[in-house]
Amino acid sequence: MQRYSGFGLVKHALSHHENWQRQWRNPTPKKAYDVIIIGGGGHGLGTAYYLAKEFGIRNVAVIEKGWLGGGNTARNTTIVRSNYLWDEAAALYEHSLKLWEGLSQDINYNVMFSQRGVLNVGHTLQDMRDIQRRVNANRLNGVDSEVLDAKGVQELVPAMDCSQNARYPVMGASWQPRAGVARHDAVAWGFARAADAYGVDILQQTEVTGFKIRDGQIHGVHTNRGDIEAKTVGCVTAGNSGVMAKMAGLKMPMESHPLQALVSEPLKPVLDTVVMSNHVHGYISQSDKGDLVIGAGIDGYNGYGQRGSYPTVEHTLQAIVEMFPSFSRVRMNRQWGGIVDTCPDACPILSKTKVKGLYFNCGWGTGGFKATPGSAHVFASSLAKGEMHPIAAPFSIDRFNTGALIDEHGAAGVAH
């Protein structure tokens, strides 16, 4: 792999950029692999990378029906944080955050992970109780987190209306300084390039059309480019996981919903942190290009259309202007939607299935992006060892039958 560096850049400039190498190959599928990963998003590519790097399994295919990183990886609002309420979730997301902190160097690809901090703002007494509960739990779990009052919020976010004039005045916030944002596309591309360098085959424009299952054991997949065999298959297809599960004869405790986001026109820097509010229901940050990146709530109906309903966007912007009245004259450039696979307890599924050798990693709802390296790492470990990684173990499908849910709803009405 051609190593990226500032010095390299100068060298390339002098040769008119004529010598850049491909970041990943476009290989022909082999007949068989040790492991097949279905889904070439951040989680899938990351899983392949860690399989190769940490567990020495390099005979791996990542099968992507479109172009890599083209699903939710390309459509989210790029927030990374780990201040989750429940121990199991905090462990998973904190594991991920720690990996984020060295990711650019690890994969030699600047994912622009920017630890500009995340504020979860509270507007009611119950919000503040929930914030205190979460912050206390975070600290005892080793997750950096603190409670700010309205004055503290105002100091961090001068553009925000923290006065008593608001319909729902800001009472305070939780603050995770290590949280932040990252460049979403770069995560997929960086993992793809690094995995490819280990010999992982990334098969784009390749669609899984069925599973080869015999005697309760997975033997591979059918694709539009022929059958590919493997005794271990990890399905990491986010919003399409239900469709994949159905192909394998499995039912999932999951529904796919549209989740919308939007950006403003680029503005000179005006917002340095990520601000999220469950109560008025919106969240916002400003990208390095100057766009205000704004997330909406989930649309309530099932949908695979990568678009949602307009009132959801309206309500989101109402919340943003309520918190930032001076943004009223700013303009919205573009809106789009992703398909999020949501579980009843707002926590993911990292699990074996009834089919031996077939694993699912899905149900991330709105929380998938921030978990990318962590999810990929523990999933790779689980695939490599045939046993779920201890951090992944509580996220088994079985919990929906035993009742051992990890209910993050209370903590994360708009979890992102």
Partner: protein
């Protein structure tokens, strides 16, 4: 003041109304009817901005929504600032103040430009991803500098002085675009009698007819436009919306139209009769049928230095000359791949200025416009194109050379023509944005060299958007679409009545996107594809070499199309370049799918009136005025404003919350207090199966509750988790009154309905909300009976009106139902009266209550008093993961009820049956002065290393004036079996509090006080 590029005549500007404006602090003049762009060009302003990445000087390129460069900051005051205004769509008004958004120290002499020139070579696509990685700790510092260069305009720092609103509209036919197709469609649909809305983004209706050279019925086109517009305006069934952009096409024919009502008049809406009209308005339109008549955008050619000011679209040149009487230069070179662009040269020549040459990429240009140019003696260089512009801050020349399109190379050195303006045209891209918003993928058509939309149900398209460009065909297509839309809506279409237009014979266009250069693309002068994001053809080539092969990858890697113009000019050219690099065709590299908005929309307009006071309803009880007058502090509970506590003024100073709550608590425990409990949800339940129904939705038993009696109940979801609680009174055998928590009112009513309507429709029962009908006044405390006896005719004897009884009678001469239920643990009467009388009853109680020191109390005191009694608040002490058993409320669980009530089955699942579940207990801090933090986490091993195993948390915690101590409710793993044990609460400040697990009932455990 002279406007050097203003022609003496022509254009539809009003020369009698001169307007003054400033740009970058310099004063200029223009005319009513100008856009800011046309006025800048009239004044000879070349550089309007500096580019984002390389800080190159940029000028105006287009005349409409597709403009990438002239994106400016508007506003003379802080509050009126508008970032990122396209000068081409901003009507000029007197006193307009505008500035460039980039450039330091100014846009003319920009120092960053030097940096851009020097470092431009080091910024290939994706350079951020390839550098700034070492050392890891420095990224945040690097980023700080990167961010300094971010953004175009700036947001104002003050509150918006303007207002916005929404109008919900329904129509049979929505016509988007009022060019020839749209006008014909609106006319057909309008004359048929259907309800029509015609929206156009420009200041005036007419579209391409506003600068056409063609005659309609042998008269100038604008005359036909004026007549049709007047006819449509006169129709009651037609609504004309100029300055209105259709920005989003959503499911089932829902379209958002953004009408800029005052932006042509001033930077803020000008006051009129003392009122300020809305600045802009969003029409939320549900249309029966939509006719898209959105036309096409001209594509520029991509050649070397094509971004130097003085490079314009050919069509824009015609627009400026014909519509605004502005000729944006003195000597023109036109580079074209088609006939239509010849208009620019003809218009230019007719303005009395020089056309140096027309470089036509076709070997044998022929067609009427070509012939007209020849007739005027304009030099035409066939098989050639401008391969490179010369000049720094303004075009000074054009290198024109013969090109071989198939082999993508230049033949010979060509010649350098002196000129100050280069107009280019690479053909036309149908404006398919709206059509693709709902997910329909467009189709590439080689014959028109563009994507055309695929239609979904309920949409018609006509004219340029379909790739139909000849005016006669456009008119017929528009009429047909309008008539068909009306027919679908049930109206009879009339015979077409359209003006005659001479059919013009155009020669065939040739496919040309990037013009080859003598040097290879990576070594040639920059050939820009997306000017706003500084994306060049070389960048696209590098991207494809690096493996970014789908157009979506190319776009994201280079940032092409992500600007405020959303790639209106550049996307197709970019696809063509990617296709060339990959050896594929354009449709093979991808399709074009656009997202809303078509052009950016002000947040304020999307928000409308839903801001400030009207952001969310404030719900008030009937006693609200009284609470306000008493100086209550309020708590937001859902949408309700509830009194939180009533601070008194003591010696001119406001009592603290702690003191006020302590005083209110003591008043209730020692004398009598009163609470406005009107916000509780109330549901009237009637029917012979009401009792059966209650038994199914509540965890406890209802079979034997007698009329006149009240019972507390818990509700679970079928996962066994508590979600609401409240009391329900048996009014009569078939008649119950249910109460819910304040926040749960709507949820519970819908919960009852869903079970009734979907699972048990056979049960004869009806539910009706009476939350707002009744006001609820809670009189509680040892003196409550005495006070009540002064104002009611109800027999209050403790034997005849017992705890958990209800009675009816009069209170303060008002018919009332009185319930002896207690949320404080004291003797309590909950009075329900029709809300319109409530204030009178409340005031009467105070008139009589003075001698008992009747004290109003708020939600905080209510919380303290109920917590002292171990009463839960659903949503505070429960969080969706707590069962009735976890709450220790086995007494409220009807294990042996015949029907398997909602939630019962789940209680025996392995996880819900665990013994070490988190269970509700009381906590007594070892130090009575300590008030534990709500949300504090509970551990058993305070010395344990992080992560520390957490065993529960505090759900409610207060100071109790009765106990003179802090106390708390909490959930603790296996808590019911741990009475008397010590737990630890490590706090943020390093302190570790100790507390004893105790019963959650702190006051009057036997419940004697409420029974007196």
């Amino acid at each position: 003041m002279s406007q050097p590029n203003r022609l003496d005549r022509g254009g539809s500007i009003d020369r009698s109304r001169e307007l003054s404006f400033t740009f970058n602090g310099q004063s200029y003049r223009g005319y009513a009817g100008d856009t800011l762009a046309s006025a800048l060009l009239a004044n000879g302003v070349d550089i309007v901005n500096r580019s984002f990445k390389y800080s190159r000087p940029r000028g105006i390129v287009a005349a409409g929504a597709e403009e990438p460069n002239a994106v400016i900051q508007l506003g003379s005051t802080e509050a009126a600032q508008v970032p990122n205004v396209r000068a081409t769509q901003q009507a000029l008004f007197d006193g307009l103040e505008a500035r460039s958004t980039n450039g330091w120290p100014n846009v003319q002499r920009d120092l960053m430009g030097l940096v851009g020139k020097l470092s431009g070579g080091f910024m290939p696509p994706g350079f951020y991803y390839k550098t700034f990685m070492a050392p890891a700790s420095m990224w945040m510092t690097y980023e700080k500098f990167i961010r300094k260069g971010a953004g175009l305009g700036r947001a104002p720092a003050e509150r918006d002085p303007d207002t916005y609103d929404h109008v919900n509209r329904h129509c049979d036919v929505l016509v988007v675009g009022a060019g020839p197709a749209g006008l014909a469609a609106a006319l057909a649909a309008g004359r048929s009698g259907s309800l029509v809305i015609l929206a156009d983004e420009q200041e005036t209706m007419g579209g391409s007819l506003l600068d056409t050279r063609e005659l309609l019925d042998e008269r100038p086109a604008e005359q036909w436009v004026a007549e049709v517009t007047a006819e449509l305006e006169a129709m009651d069934n037609v609504l004309l919306l100029p300055r209105t952009t259709a920005n989003g096409y959503h499911d089932h024919n829902f379209v958002t139209l953004h009408e800029r009502r005052t932006e042509h008049l001033g930077e803020t809406a000008p006051e009129h009769n003392g009122r300020r009209p809305v600045r802009s308005r969003l029409h939320r339109v549900r249309a029966g049928l939509v006719v898209l008549a959105t036309g096409a955008h001209e594509r520029p050619l991509v050649y070397g230095n094509n971004d130097v000011p003085g490079n314009l679209l050919a069509g824009a040149v015609s627009s400026y000359i014909r519509r605004y009487g502005v000729v944006p230069g003195s000597k023109l070179v036109l580079s074209t791949s088609n006939d239509h662009a010849y208009r620019a040269a003809l218009d230019w020549a007719e303005s009395g200025r020089e056309v140096a040459a027309i470089a036509d990429a076709r070997a044998e240009p022929k067609g009427e416009l070509v012939e007209q140019a020849r007739a005027k003696g304009i030099r035409i260089i066939p098989g050639a194109a401008v391969v490179e512009a010369r000049g720094q801050n303004r075009v000074s020349g054009a290198r024109v050379a013969r090109i071989n399109i198939d082999d993508f190379r230049v033949e010979g050195d060509g010649e350098l023509l002196e000129c100050d303006t280069i107009a280019s045209s690479g053909g036309y891209s149908p404006v398919i944005h709206l059509a693709s918003h709902t997910g329909a993928r467009p189709t590439w058509r080689d014959d028109i060299l563009g994507f055309v939309p695929n239609m979904v149900d309920g949409v018609q398209a006509a004219g340029g958007v379909q790739g139909v460009y000849a005016t006669p065909e456009v008119l017929v297509g528009g009429w047909t679409a309008g008539a068909e839309a009306a027919r679908v809506a049930g109206f009879e279409a009339l015979e077409a009545a359209l003006p005659s237009v001479e059919t013009r014979h155009d020669g065939e266009a040739v496919a040309l996107y990037q013009v080859p250069h003598q040097k290879a693309t990576l070594r040639a002068p920059k050939q820009f594809v997306d000017m706003q994001n500084d994306v060049s053809a070389a960048a696209i080539e590098v991207a494809t070499r690096e493996g970014f092969e789908s157009i979506e990858h190319v776009k994201r890697y280079t940032a092409m199309g992500f600007g405020t113009d959303q790639g209106k000019l550049g996307n197709i050219n970019g696809m063509a370049i990617a296709a060339r690099c990959l050896g594929r065709t354009i449709p093979e590299v991808g399709t074009t799918v656009f997202r809303p908005n078509y052009t950016p929309v002000t947040f304020g307009a999307i928000v409308g009136r839903h801001c400030r006071e009207l952001f969310d309803p404030k719900r008030y009880t009937a006693m609200h005025q009284w609470h306000v007058e008493q100086g209550a502090e309020f708590e937001d509970v859902g949408q309700w404003k509830r009194p939180w506590y009533f601070p008194r003024r003591v010696q001119g100073r406001q009592e603290s919350m702690h003191d006020a709550v302590a005083r209110e608590c003591r008043a209730v425990r020692e004398k009598v207090g009163i609470l406005d409990a009107s916000t509780l949800g109330k549901i009237d339940i009637q029917g012979p199966d009401a009792r059966e129904f209650l038994g199914r939705v509540y965890t406890n038993k209802w079979a034997k509750l007698a009329p006149g009696r009240v019972r507390y109940g818990l509700m679970c979801k079928d996962d066994g988790m508590v979600f609401d609680d409240g009391t329900t009174s048996c009014l009569a055998e078939n008649h119950f009154l249910m109460t819910t928590s304040t926040g749960g009112a709507a949820t519970v009513l819908e919960w009852l309905e869903v079970w009734h309507q979907t699972e048990w429709p056979e049960l004869e029962v009806y539910f009706n909300s009476v939350t707002d009908h009744w006001a609820t006044l809670t009189v509680t405390g040892p003196e409550a009976r005495k006070l009540m006896s002064e104002v009611t005719d109800i027999d209050l004897d403790r034997e005849s009106f017992k705890f958990m009884d209800w009675r009816e009678g009069k209170v303060a001469n008002v018919p009332a139902r009185v319930f002896r239920i207690s949320f404080t643990g004291e003797l309590a009467y909950e009075i329900n009266v029709q809300a319109n009388y409530a204030l009178h009853v409340w005031e009467t109680l105070f008139a009589h209550g003075e001698k008992y020191e009747l004290t109003p109390y708020g939600t905080e005191t209510m919380h303290v008093l109920r917590a002292e009694k171990g009463f839960i608040i659903a949503g505070q002490d429960t969080d969706g993961s707590v069962t009735p058993e976890d709450l220790g409320m086995h007494w409220a669980i009807g294990y042996d009820k015949p029907f398997s009530w909602i939630g019962k089955r789940a209680l025996t699942r392995p996880d819900t049956a665990r013994a070490d579940r988190k269970q509700m207990v009381g906590l007594k801090p070892k130090d009575p002065k300590v008030i534990l933090e709500e949300g504090a986490q509970i551990v058993f091993e305070p010395e344990h290393a992080i992560p520390m195993p957490m065993k529960g948390h505090v759900t409610s915690s207060y100071y109790s004036p009765t106990l003179d101590s802090g106390f708390a409710l909490a959930v603790v793993k296996g808590g019911h079996q741990r009475m008397g044990e010590t737990v630890y609460l490590p706090m943020v400040d390093g302190q570790v509090h100790e507390a004893e697990i105790v019963s959650p009932i702190f006051v009057d455990p036997k419940g004697e006080r409420q029974n007196v």
